[in-house]
């Protein structure tokens, strides 16, 4: 029977030859993950149920690197609790020493491979889909159950295919691909469905750029997003792990619920206006909107390619008066590479602040919360009301070129209009 990637991964994990869309199956997980904020509640539930041992310590990964250094006593205490749990259970994949944030760190460490079924107590679990893994976000109690039994029930979702074609113009990035998709599908256009990203425009993107697309599948309500691996994917994975894997591809005659074609050649740099990530317009339509803060980083756009794009714009320029520019490398290795390659010097010379690796100000927790009168352009994935601080703070989402060029101009600009 012809199957999509979703059907194939779930069938294998359920020990079946084939699963149908709409079927509910019990699936074995290849990797269970959780972070600083979701693991404490998962452990509370794990113990409340009387569980004492995890199903397999080698298939569990706890990454507590989102808000390092700690903001307060509560978080410091919670993460210390995670350390003790992981030590007792023999969980080797425990990271809580400023290595970076999970969605960027786990792929870097070679923990994510094509064809895997991953369950992760975080909505941006879908980021791993850029490596051809089927990675499903869940709540903490779901993950407590997975920690104990290594399995969970899943509905086999229908798949929407998003096909990117054409050649992007200057300063059009993978962030614009996904913002254009959000504009079409809206914040619930893929609710309870899988999205398969494909098309020849993806082949031109570096692996780092592809994570940006998979990362925002959840913004359309998707169960997850996934890309078919190619040579670049396999080169990325092989450079990081010796572990084997099976590449999973949709059959040519697999049934997709819908196909959305996006010609990236026709795109200009985009922004999502407050307060929904689907509120997408060309950057030039809001040009001149004055800003007080610009953030570059996060699991969406905090990798080397993003910092290189930022440096390309900032080199020899200054951040506009009255604007704070915060740059947050997603992981320690991105941070190190940025220092070694001189990017950090470019940022500091331009008047930016470089945050420690992690999530930075994305969720309004620390490292740059917003006041009522702030207007922010961020390379993040969410601009919900109150997301980054005060309910009245205005948040615009954009790619790195738009963000960096806006920081220099002091107001939103389309880099195609202001850069050579």
């Amino acid at each position: 029977m012809p199957s999509t990637i979703a059907q194939k991964v779930l069938a294998r994990a359920a020990g079946k030859k084939h699963v149908a869309v709409g079927e509910i199956v019990t699936t074995r997980v290849d990797l269970a993950m959780a972070n600083d904020f979701t693991t404490p509640l998962a452990l509370k539930q794990f113990h409340a149920a009387g569980a004492s041992k995890v199903f397999d310590p080698d298939k569990i990964c706890v990454m507590a690197g989102r808000h390092m250094p700690f903001r307060d006593i509560q978080l410091a205490t919670a993460v210390e609790g995670l350390r003790i749990f992981c030590e007792q259970q023999g969980i080797k994949h425990f990271y809580a020493n400023c290595e970076g944030m999970d969605h960027a760190l786990a792929p870097e460490l070679g923990l994510i491979r094509p064809g895997m079924l991953i369950m992760n107590a975080d909505s941006h679990a879908c980021t791993a889909g850029a490596l051809g893994a089927f990675s499903i976000p869940m709540g903490s109690t779901d993950i407590a159950y997975v920690f104990a039994f290594g399995e969970s029930w899943l509905l086999v979702p229908p798949t929407i295919r998003v096909r990117y074609t054409g050649k992007p113009g200057p300063y059009v990035t993978s962030k614009d691909f996904i913002l254009a998709t959000l504009k079409e599908l809206g914040v619930d256009g893929a609710r309870y469905k899988a999205i398969e990203f494909c098309g020849d425009a993806l082949a031109h993107l570096d692996q780092d750029e592809r994570f940006t697309i998979a990362n925002m599948a959840i913004e359309m309500g998707a169960k997850t997003g996934v890309m078919e691996p190619d040579e670049k994917t396999e080169a990325y994975v092989r450079a990081r792990t010796q572990s084997g894997y099976d590449v999973v591809r949709s059959d040519p005659d697999a049934e997709f619920e819908a196909t959305l074609d996006i010609d990236v050649g026709s795109l200009t740099p985009l922004v999502a206006k407050p307060f929904l990530p689907s509120n997408v317009v060309p950057a030039r339509e809001v040009r001149g909107t004055k800003v007080t803060q610009v953030n570059i980083g996060t699991c969406t756009n905090g990798r080397m390619i993003d910092l290189e794009q930022a440096a390309q714009v900032l080199r020899g320029n200054k951040v506009a008066k009255g604007v704070r520019l915060m740059i947050t490398p997603a992981t320690a290795s991105v941070y190190r590479d940025a220092v070694k390659s001189g990017l950090v010097e470019v940022f500091i010379d331009a008047g930016a602040t470089v945050n420690p690796p992690g999530c930075g100000p994305c969720a309004g927790i620390h490292m740059g919360a917003l006041s009522a009168t702030d207007v922010c352009v961020a390379t993040h994935n969410r601009n919900f009301r109150g997301r980054m601080g005060h309910r009245d703070a205005q948040i615009y989402l954009a790619g790195t070129y738009v963000a960096a060029a806006t920081a220099v101009a002091g107001a939103i600009v389309d880099p195609q209009e202001v850069l050579q």
Partner: protein, 170 residues
Amino acid sequence: MIFTGRIHKFGDHVDTDVIIPATLLSNTDPQVLGRGCFSEVFPGFADRVKPGDLIFAGENFGCGSSREHAPIAIKGAGIACVVAASFSRIFYRSAINIGLPIAICPAAVAQAEAGAEASADLTAGKITVAGKSYSIPAFPPELIAILDSGGLVPFMEMRLKRERQSGTPR
């Protein structure tokens, strides 16, 4: 499972950042989270809720971040049941897992007015608003098993007990 109370009305795409701000996530106590429920965007919400009240909301309720603190905060604030036109996938799972009753009923939501009385009878599959009743689809059996146990934690507890009794090695 019948819940009768006053309606608190919300629109479409109510996200979990609005339900409970990330600054409050270091805590998992339902009472504390309940006081913080909607505190940033709709200040005073927790004070306006009488225990047993109902939330009626539009499409895609609970979208965004996977924080399970969101259904816990709603329950902690005293809300007995959330009726929405549709739910985000993660919120739907999590609400059932932590024992917050939810129902999908766009027709009832369309008629719901803030402050009016409504009832949700999840056993009979019926939502009543302004004297008119609407039927709702049944839960899948996998979820009924979890709800019957009182949530995923008691469900887990039963499975662990069963496995210990039958000597399944763990």
